[in-house]
């Protein structure tokens, strides 16, 4: 049998590439949820990041400005959510939904003049090495965001487990009342986490419009924000498991694309529905263990916090 190792390498690289936005957005949201905040606006923040990144790239031709611009835009829009839920004490669920609707609207508005424009060339690293059989396409010739995405969950893991700041985030998510008693500024911590989540969703969006696609298409996040939210539950709030879950979803997406290309006699739409059906399946399997979910869910997740004076 003739197995083309290089082809397998390319497929694995494709899987990894398609999981990048999921890793970034889910890990960002993981920090947000660990601090006790449920931001359902991930989809909206990703799409804002996508258009901002693309717009900055087209106007400045600087990848650095484009990336930071997208993250900055993510932070700005996440601050709307932060201000509403933390300062005006609104319910997390509807506020997050509003953020998604708003983000999709704003992105389409901003993107009016960018529709159909081809994306710019993005610098990649170790371009010449990607000819190496198998590991070449996997390890080399990718953008900076790609590499970042695969080390990022490890950083977040270390941050949560080993640093005092991470401990404070977990403490706030465990109980905002106790945290207040201990003199922790709960609202400040949560604002910072929300902004961090916004930045990471923004970066995920930038990856879509600058690297993955690369152009601006309305609604191009196509549910990735929601899948990222599901991944956080799947990972039981552990960043390393987010990595695993994202790769799993990446594989399904790539698999169905290849099946479509190979002309498998299953309607395209059914294949395209696979990632969404898989999300449901995975959620069901993981949620059946009630005890495990309860032990890992941040205790104060989604609860509005009001500090009595």
């Amino acid at each position: 049998m003739n197995i083309d190792l290089n082809f397998i390498g390319i497929i694995i690289a494709a899987v990894m590439a398609s999981s990048v936005p999921l890793i970034l957005a889910a890990t960002g949201e993981l920090i947000v949820e660990r601090s006790g905040v449920l931001n359902l606006g991930v989809e909206g923040m990703i799409i804002i990041g996508a258009i901002s990144g693309f717009a900055f790239m087209m106007s400045t031709e600087s990848i650095v400005i484009a990336i930071f611009g997208a993250m900055f835009a993510g932070i700005i829009i996440s601050l709307i959510f932060g201000f509403l839920t933390q300062t005006l004490l609104t319910l997390h669920v509807p506020t997050g939904l509003a953020l998604t609707i708003f983000g999709i609207g704003v992105s389409a508005m901003l993107g009016k003049n960018f529709v159909g424009l081809p994306g710019k060339e993005i610098p990649v690293f170790f371009e010449n090495l990607d000819k190496i059989t198998f590991i070449g396409p996997i390890l080399f010739g990718h953008s900076i965001i790609f590499y970042f995405a695969f080390v990022f969950p490890f950083f977040v893991y270390y941050f949560l487990k080993k640093t005092k700041m991470g401990l404070i985030v977990r403490a706030v998510g465990d109980s905002h009342h106790v945290a207040t008693d201990q003199g922790i500024n709960v609202i400040l911590v949560r604002y910072l986490c929300i902004m961090f989540g916004g930045a990471m969703s923004g970066l995920a969006g930038a990856y879509l419009s600058l690297v993955y696609t690369p152009q601006w298409i309305e609604n191009m996040s196509s549910g990735r924000g929601w899948i990222a939210l599901a991944l956080v539950v799947f990972a039981t709030w552990n960043p390393l498991k987010v990595l695993v879950g994202a790769l799993l979803f990446g594989s399904i997406s790539i698999l169905q694309l290849h099946m479509q290309a190979a002309g498998v006699r299953i309607p395209v739409q059914f294949l395209s529905a696979l990632p969404y059906l898989l999300t449901i399946l995975v959620l069901v399997v993981i949620s059946r263990d009630d005890r495990k979910i309860k032990l890992n869910t941040p205790n104060s997740l989604g609860k509005t916090f009001y500090k009595e004076n």
Binding site: K164, L167, I168, R170, A171, D174, S175, V178, A179, D181, Q182, G183, I184, D290, R291, K294, L295, N299
Partner: protein
């Protein structure tokens, strides 16, 4: 070095009461001071002022003759004042060590050594790496105490520390507190338990309705004298006429009741067996968090079980939900009045409609019969002397005592054969406690039965004919109350069943 703490002319008013009325106290290290008073006497307000949580309207505090400005707990900690709260202030899912790290600016390694020293010195048996939620109440309190000791405090305030402890744990705590006192820490011990004052403290300050009534040497006091000072009147003590002969008319029987919870924050119920006869009150003692809440919910039907594990009047009811159990004239009074037994944002008559008993006709044909519910509610308000006549009033505006009268009334107006109640007087003032106790005694007199789950042993001794204790979801043998001493009950509550 000697520490002295002087409280001078402290006053604090709230819109509805004067919590502290010109309090003056002088305290010195080497002694354990009791701050004695009922719920609402103002002792919590006073210690919260001492710990910087509340700022007084008037008055000054001096530490070692220096004026002390306390704007926040941080200021208190800076001045080496520490406090252990009645409700633990710990992060449940974090480990013991992580909890302690959070409150300290020391590097992890030296902190860990320091904690280990404290643990060795006072024989605390605590694993630093286990999540707090796996600890017993006594261990959690030790974590709180360690957190204070790390800071080498000069003043240590303990707020009703024994309410969650077993007899054994209480003894251990007292030993530690006496050690701390010898080492020169000034200890302020807040309590409403008279016996503790006598066994532990050197001096006692009694508070009532925001005023400091007296300060005296404990050696000059007796339980009775302290009781009179604390309550302010010679309340006639309710005495229960105990059944001379044991009735054999069995009403409810619990057989091998078991519950394994999927929720790690709940307690599993293991092989519970007991029976209650007509006209009897069975008391179930226990330290809170030992499965009382789960047991209550199983008896009420909020958690269902094997059908034969609960037999009422010879009929198995384990699978029935609370609504169906009410049809058999069983009534339930949960511990938590505000989130369990009622909904504060709803009106009185709506809360009354929650007990949709068999003959109520509150919801005939699926429609709300508002007139019927309101008339019924009016009757409860009158019969159980609730201090309002307005059935449209939201229950959030009722005081604790009036709310409990309403809720107990809602359950009792149907003259149930069995009342299951859980901490019925928790957090109430003396008058309301008195009223509830009298009501419960009346039920027994009418040959109706009660299962009384309570963390208040005095209440249990006063009301129950038979008594047992619950520990980690298991229940001890049932004794005649007259055959059990406080010490024996303490051992049972601590899990020493034989």
């Amino acid at each position: 070095m000697e520490t002295s703490l002087k409280i001078s002319n402290i006053s604090k008013a709230y819109p509805d009461c004067l919590a502290n009325d010109n309090i003056n106290l002088e305290l010195k290290s080497g002694k354990i001071y009791a701050l004695l008073g009922e719920n609402g006497a103002g002792k919590s307000t006073l210690v919260k002022i001492l710990f910087g949580i509340i700022q007084p309207d008037k008055g000054k505090i001096f530490l070692n003759n220096q004026i002390l400005k306390l704007n926040s707990p941080r200021d208190a900690k800076k001045n080496k004042i520490s406090m252990v709260f009645q409700h633990f202030s710990l992060f449940e899912t974090l480990s013991v060590l992580e909890n302690l790290i959070l409150d300290s600016s020391e590097p992890k390694k030296s902190l860990e050594n320091k904690i280990q020293d404290i643990i060795n010195k006072y024989n605390f048996n605590i694993d630093l790496y286990t999540p707090v939620l796996n600890l017993s109440a006594g261990q959690k309190q030790k974590v709180e105490i360690i957190r204070c000791l790390i800071k080498n405090p000069d003043v240590l305030i303990m707020d009703e520390p024994t309410s969650v402890l077993t007899e054994q744990e209480t003894k251990e705590l007292f030993i530690s507190l006496k050690k701390f006192s010898k080492e020169g820490i000034l200890i302020i011990y807040i309590t409403h338990k008279l016996k503790e004052v006598i066994t532990l403290c050197d001096e006692v300050a009694v508070m009532r309705k925001g005023k400091l009534i007296s300060i005296s040497k404990v050696s000059n006091e007796k339980i009775e004298s302290l009781a009179n000072k604390m309550i302010g009147q010679n309340l006639k003590i309710v005495r229960k006429k105990r059944l001379e002969e044991k009735s054999n008319d069995q009403l409810i029987k619990i057989v091998n009741l078991n519950y394994k919870s999927a929720n790690p924050f709940e307690v599993n119920i293991k092989d519970i067996n007991f029976e209650v006869n007509r006209g009897e009150c069975l008391g179930i003692a226990g330290i809170s968090g030992n499965g009382q809440s789960e047991l209550f919910q199983m008896l009420s039907g909020e958690i269902t079980s094997e059908n034969n594990s609960i037999v009422f009047d010879n009929r198995p009811i384990g699978k029935l939900n609370p609504q169906e159990r009410r049809k058999y004239l069983i009534a339930f009074s949960p511990e938590d009045r505000l989130t369990h037994a009622s909904i504060p944002q709803m009106k009185i008559f709506e809360n009354v409609a929650l007990n949709n008993f068999k003959s109520s006709d509150f919801f005939k044909g699926g429609l709300i019969n508002e007139k019927k519910i309101k008339d019924h509610s009016q009757r409860i308000l009158t019969k159980f002397s609730v201090n309002t006549e307005n059935v449209e009033l939201k229950t959030q505006f009722l005081s604790g005592g009036n709310l409990q009268k309403l809720l107990i009334g809602r359950e009792l107006i149907t003259s149930p054969n069995l009342l299951i109640c859980f901490n019925p007087t928790w957090g109430l003032d003396v008058g309301a406690i008195h009223y509830i106790h009298e009501t419960l005694i009346k039920i027994n007199d009418q040959n109706k039965s009660i299962i009384l789950i309570s963390t208040d042993t005095e209440e249990l001794f006063m009301l129950s004919d038979k008594i047992c204790a619950i520990n980690k979801g298991r229940i001890s043998k049932v004794f005649k109350t007259t055959d059990v001493s406080t010490e024996k009950l303490g051992l049972l509550m601590g899990g020493q069943f034989d």
